[in-house]
């Protein structure tokens, strides 16, 4: 914030060095603030298939933290690897702020824009959400890589330098090794190139930078085992290849045109380009149809059709991050930048150099994607920061000038404004009345003061908002729940850890735990027990198997549990506490995912009442009430309440007077607030009965003697 205030005072007589030093200090402060604001949060294997770690994982994150760890050790700084993992995301957010400074500085000559972008990037909640301390996720380093790769790309397009192109490829390769979102870069850079060609802006600079990036970057990306041959086999990467081919053709034509200035020849060449383009598109389609090139992935389709995932790939749609974004979320995550953003993009149109075209394309694509998926808000945030910084810096550069402008053509009142006015004048000419006599400056101190004051207030409010969001929404761990008691004191609900430590201390080392995949990593990490499925959702069928076991009758589920050597089943139940993120609320996704694999056995409709309601009370359908998930959630729950008054506080419904009976599982553990319930899978009955009759026998129900036989005798054959 200090920047805007200090800038005019530095303008006059203070030397360049002082300004440079100040800028450096400001940048460091921003980076430190970016790191510090993320420190107020609390930290938060697939049996029996096994998972090839190298082949199902982006290694970039681990490699990065490993390198940092070893470098620090080399420098005789023995830091625990865990501390590095915890602080990696905040550390990289500092770098991200720096990268956004760099990329914004490429857009405009105003130095304040870069600093503003860095500040925005440093504290915006949209980015903090994924980079608080302890969020050791791919996105932690990926956003930095994304922004920095874009910076290098802009740099290489500007300079037409193979070195910058190679650096772009290098960081692109790093990005590929870090996050699946690299496909965004893979498609954005070709699109930028394509648009530039279409605008008739082909230049050798473009040719050099794109060719360098594409060839080196593709090779680099193929070195990641998880990606492998995808860059040449999947449709998601074909646009980069196609644009590369197009660029060669265009370059060839340019070359010929310089040699042979023949008009007819040029027409011929244009025709040739068109034919080659059409033919290559045809070949591409043919290869896709014949299966040589993998068709677009489901995740890609779900970007265009928001309903696609729900029907075809429920596992993707089941993640809350993949839901379409609600409008308030934009304001919540970006605050004032969301309305500065269009202004910034408009200012890019005013200049419209190659790099501004890039920002415009980026802005359009990212806004669309952010609207489709909550998660992709993350890719939108950098461009919003850049555009907003452009807009704000332009306002400040215009208004925050103490001197009155001298109304001559050469007089500059803030370089950016001068430029924009000039080019705007050139472009629009006399079409608009207001531009015929362009405004050259602000003369009134009152207007200056009021505008600057308003902007400063906005910026301060923005800081307030960011601090508030960060402390309230993004700094609470997901494992420990906190609630406020009526007297205002904090109450900690620690059921997850209680249950995980119970598992750790009371079950055999090799006990297999079945739970929904959301809890896989936590069980693996905190309870140290193998799980059937975890958050690395690489095998949809296996997850569907777990879904089937959860949503079927006991008689169907038990063989599945036996086959997978399951010893314990863990469910999350929020009914007592009113914790809405529980398994009954996720249950429909389990049903949908398993229905995708076994449409004959599982049918989503059967879990809804005749009127299409999802209910757990007396009116719940038999399928619902017989499902293992329902039984495990509500088993013995009645005992907590006076007869017939059991209440589910999440669904807000009264439960049936008689609770469900379990015969193949027995309750092993229920946490303090009933959030976690763990069941032990019974062995086969020792004396050869089925479980239901064994349980009935234990309860003292006498087995009925077979009355007079009806029909033919069933004889025993040895």
């Amino acid at each position: 914030m200090a920047v805007e205030v200090l800038e005019p005072f530095l303008k006059g007589d203070t030397g360049r060095n002082t300004r440079g030093l100040l800028r450096l200090i400001i940048l460091c402060t921003i980076a430190a603030a970016a790191v510090a604001s993320r420190l107020f949060s609390v930290i938060r294997t697939w049996h029996p298939l096994g998972r090839v770690t190298g082949g199902t994982l982006y290694p970039g994150l681990m490699v990065t933290s490993g390198i940092i760890y070893h470098v620090l050790r080399l420098l005789s700084m023995p830091v625990d690897i865990r501390n590095i993992c915890v602080l990696l995301a905040p550390g990289f957010s500092g770098l991200t702020a720096f990268a956004s400074y760099l990329i914004t500085s490429e857009m405009t000559t105003s130095p304040s824009a870069g600093l503003l972008a860095a500040v925005f990037m440093g504290i915006t909640p949209g980015y903090i959400s994924r980079s608080v301390a302890g969020s050791y996720d791919n996105e932690a380093i990926a956003i930095f890589l994304l922004v920095f790769t874009f910076f290098l790309w802009i740099k290489s397009v500007k300079n037409g330098s193979a070195m910058w192109g190679a650096l772009t490829a290098l960081f692109y390769g790093y990005m590929v090794s870090a996050w699946g979102g690299y496909v965004f870069i893979t498609n954005l850079l070709p699109l930028h190139t394509f648009v530039l060609i279409c605008m008739g802006r082909y230049s050798p600079r473009l040719y050099v930078s794109y060719s360098t990036w594409f060839s080196l970057g593709t090779l680099a990306s193929m070195q990641v085992p998880f990606v492998g041959f995808l860059p040449i086999r999947s449709s998601d990467h074909m646009s980069a290849l196609g644009v590369f081919g197009l660029l060669q053709l265009v370059a060839f034509v340019e070359f010929i045109r310089q040699q042979v200035p023949n008009k007819q020849f040029q027409t011929l060449l244009r025709g040739l380009i068109f034919v080659v383009f059409v033919v290559s598109m045809g070949v591409l389609v043919l290869l896709t149809v014949s299966g040589v090139i993998a068709p677009w992935s489901g995740r890609f389709y779900s970007l265009w059709d928001t309903g696609y995932a729900k029907i075809h790939i429920p596992i993707i749609a089941s993640v809350s991050e993949h839901q379409p974004t609600a409008w308030p979320a934009f304001f919540f995550d970006l605050n004032l930048m969301i309305w500065l953003f269009p202004a910034g993009v408009y200012m890019c149109f005013q200049h419209l150099k190659d790099e501004h075209v890039f920002v415009v394309i980026y802005a359009v694509l990212a806004s669309y994607f952010a609207g489709v998926m909550v998660r992709l808000m993350l890719t939108l945030t950098p461009v919003v920061c850049i555009a907003a910084a452009l807009a704000i810096s332009s306002i400040l550069d215009t208004y925050l000038v103490a001197d009155n402008p001298i109304p001559t053509e050469t007089q500059s009142n803030g370089q950016a404004t001068g430029d924009s006015v000039k080019s705007a004048t050139n472009m629009i000419k006399d079409s608009l009345r207001s531009t015929r006599n362009p405004v050259l400056g602000i003369y009134s101190y009152i207007s200056k003061a009021s505008v600057v004051g308003a902007v400063t207030t906005y910026l301060l409010l923005f800081v307030l908002h960011c601090t508030w969001v960060t402390s309230n929404a993004y700094s609470s761990p997901s494992v420990v729940l906190a609630s406020k008691l009526p007297d205002g004191s904090q109450h900690i609900i620690d059921d997850y850890r209680e249950a995980y430590y119970w598992l750790r201390q009371n079950t055999p080392d090799k006990a297999k735990i079945m739970s929904w995949w959301d809890y896989g990593y936590q069980i693996g990490g905190m309870a140290d027990r193998p799980t059937l499925v975890d958050n690395n959702t690489w095998n949809n069928t296996h997850i569907a198997t777990v879904g089937k076991a959860m949503s079927s009758r006991e008689e169907v589920s038990y063989p599945i549990l036996r086959q997978h050597d399951v010893d314990y089943v863990l469910v999350v139940f929020g009914g007592l506490l009113g914790y809405s993120g529980d398994d009954i609320n996720k249950f429909l996704w389990m049903v949908r995912i398993s229905e995708g694999i076994w449409p004959d056995e599982i049918n989503e409709r059967n879990y809804f009442t005749a009127r299409g309601e999802y209910r757990v009370d007396d009116e719940a359908t038999p399928t619902m009430r017989n499902s293992l998930m329902y039984k495990m959630s509500y088993y013995n729950y009645n005992a907590l309440f006076p007869a017939g008054q059991a209440q589910d506080r999440v669904r807000g419904s009264k439960l049936p007077a008689e609770g469900p009976q379990l015969s193949t599982l027995e309750e092993a553990f229920t946490s303090e607030n009933w959030i976690i319930r763990i069941y032990k899978v019974k062995d086969l009955d020792n004396v050869g009965r089925d479980h239901a009759s064994a349980v009935a026998f234990d309860k003292g129900n006498k087995k009925k003697k077979t009355a007079k036989r009806r029909g033919a005798r069933v004889l025993r054959v040895e």
Binding site: G50, G54, D683, D685, V687, G688, R689, K703, E718
Partner: protein, 469 residues
């Protein structure tokens, strides 16, 4: 009730039951084999099958008793029904718990004494059905003892040694004749896979109630070979439960008695021998398998049977991780207990001990071949190649046969994929030679091109300076 204390395999104490006519010979026979006997009446208030949650006896021999209809308030079973005979210490629940805790029970029935409801409901749980009428007995008009039951035909004569199936070990064999007086028929249901009949009636036998159906039998409870006279149930934890259909057959009178078959031949009964077999089997002296060493290792690490110790010392034995396509050798040592010693296990050629390499479902199911044998054990072995599939596999030997204790051995191993340096190098793959050649030719061509380009002399000397920029 009778408590037995054995020196038999794996047993410490044994139990017994009570009957007014003591079966001296049988019990003498049992105590001779080292069991410590404790006699208890169900009426004894202090009788308890469990002490501090553990079994107080190793085995129970339940004999029928006379107390007909003397139900005192104390003799009420779990279900609140009057329980003729068996007290609160012998409820079906407790008997099932006794089996679940590895105790063995030999139950004898008699048509002369009513079967307690406690027992019949226990049998019903196990899918063993008794005739609905308490007085029913089995008769056979073609195979009876002409000497003692020439009128009633209710003393059956049965040959010893009919095997259940050809591949089942013959523990109850012999060539004598067993006299089976006034037997209670049992019918085994199809739903319990753990049941196996030991002695079945002949096809001409049937069960009827001599009081109600003296004149005509319309719908007999069971007929022919469906009647099991001695049935066995071996629980999943290998505890054994035997139902002996005729307590009288164990009495002294029949142990060394003489019988006369229908065609007039006199012969001695083999009841003593048969009772010994039954008691020995029930009390784990017969058909008890013991698994010794279970080992697996890479086949490339050879070592004869004696050399395995050195293999173990090197740490190559029973690794927890293998690689796909590894050659692995699996060895298992099994002994069989027979009366008083461990002997080597011999498996019938029509049967096989099998090893499953399984993940979700078996990838291989291989016969284990006996490779070495000591007087006390046999070592079975198999060598195989792991499937080309990574994951957590189990080596499982699941050998469950009637009359043999269950063997279910599972060893979990992780099978990993090839490490990055375990693939053949590029030049070892002949199909890759074309591409390798292509790479090197391109490189050489490029270098050559650069060389030619740099060293080829420009045609015009004078403009050299300008071109150089």
């Amino acid at each position: 009730m009778l408590a037995l204390d054995p020196r038999s395999y794996g047993n410490e104490k044994s139990a017994a039951s009570l009957m007014e006519e003591v079966l001296i010979l049988l019990l003498g026979c049992i105590s001779n084999r080292g069991y410590k006997l404790t006699f208890e009446s169900p009426k004894n208030d202090k009788l308890a099958l469990f002490q501090h949650g553990e079994r107080a006896f190793d085995h129970i021999l339940l004999l029928p008793q006379k107390s007909k209809g003397t139900s005192s308030p104390a003799n009420v079973d779990d279900f609140g029904l009057p329980n003729p005979g068996l007290g609160p210490a012998l409820t079906p629940k407790l008997l099932v718990q006794f089996i679940n805790q590895n105790g063995n029970i030999l139950l004898t029935l008699s048509a002369d004494y009513p079967t307690p409801t406690s027992i019949s409901s226990l049998l019903l749980e196990l899918d063993i059905h008794l005739p609905p009428d308490r007085d029913s007995l089995v008769v056979d008009h073609f195979n009876y003892d002409a000497a003692s039951a020439s009128e009633k035909h209710d003393v059956l004569l049965l040959p010893q040694g009919s095997r259940l199936r050809s591949d089942v070990k013959d523990y109850f064999g012999g060539d004598g004749t067993i006299a089976f007086p006034r037997a209670v028929a049992q019918e085994l249901g199809n739903s319990n896979p753990l049941l196996a009949p030991v002695l079945r009636a002949k096809s001409t036998a049937y069960s009827y109630n001599p009081k109600d159906e003296a004149d005509v039998v319309e719908d007999p409870f069971a007929v022919g070979e469906q009647i099991s006279l001695v049935s066995s149930m071996q629980a999943r934890n290998s505890a054994r439960f035997t139902v002996f259909g005729s307590a009288e057959a164990l009495e002294n009178k029949w142990f060394d008695g003489k019988v006369k078959s229908v065609d007039g031949k006199d012969c001695k009964t083999a009841n003593r021998e048969f009772a010994k077999q039954i008691a020995a089997w029930t009390f784990m002296e017969l058909g008890a398998l013991k698994v010794g060493r279970v080992e697996h290792h890479l086949s490339s690490i050879t070592g004869d049977a004696a050399g395995n110790d050195s293999v173990a010392q090197l740490g190559y034995l029973n690794p927890t991780i293998y690689r796909v396509k590894n050659e692995v050798t699996f060895n298992i040592e099994i002994s069989e207990y027979s009366y008083d010693h461990l002997s080597h296990l011999k498996i019938d050629p029509s049967d096989a001990l099998q090893l499953e390499i399984t993940m979700l479902s078996p990838y291989h199911r291989l016969n284990l071949i006996p490779i070495s044998q000591t007087p006390n054990s046999t070592t079975f072995s198999s060598t195989f190649k792991l499937p080309d599939q990574h994951g957590i596999f189990s080596f499982r030997v699941n050998y469950k046969r009637p009359f043999l204790t269950n063997v279910d051995i599972k060893r979990e191993v992780t099978v990993r994929h090839f490490a990055h340096d375990e693939w053949p190098r590029s030049w070892e793959i002949s199909a890759g030679w074309v591409w390798i050649a292509g790479v090197w030719i391109t490189i050489a061509g490029w270098v050559a091109f650069v060389g030619i380009w740099l060293w080829s002399e420009p045609a015009y000397e004078q403009s050299k300076g300008k071109k150089m920029q």
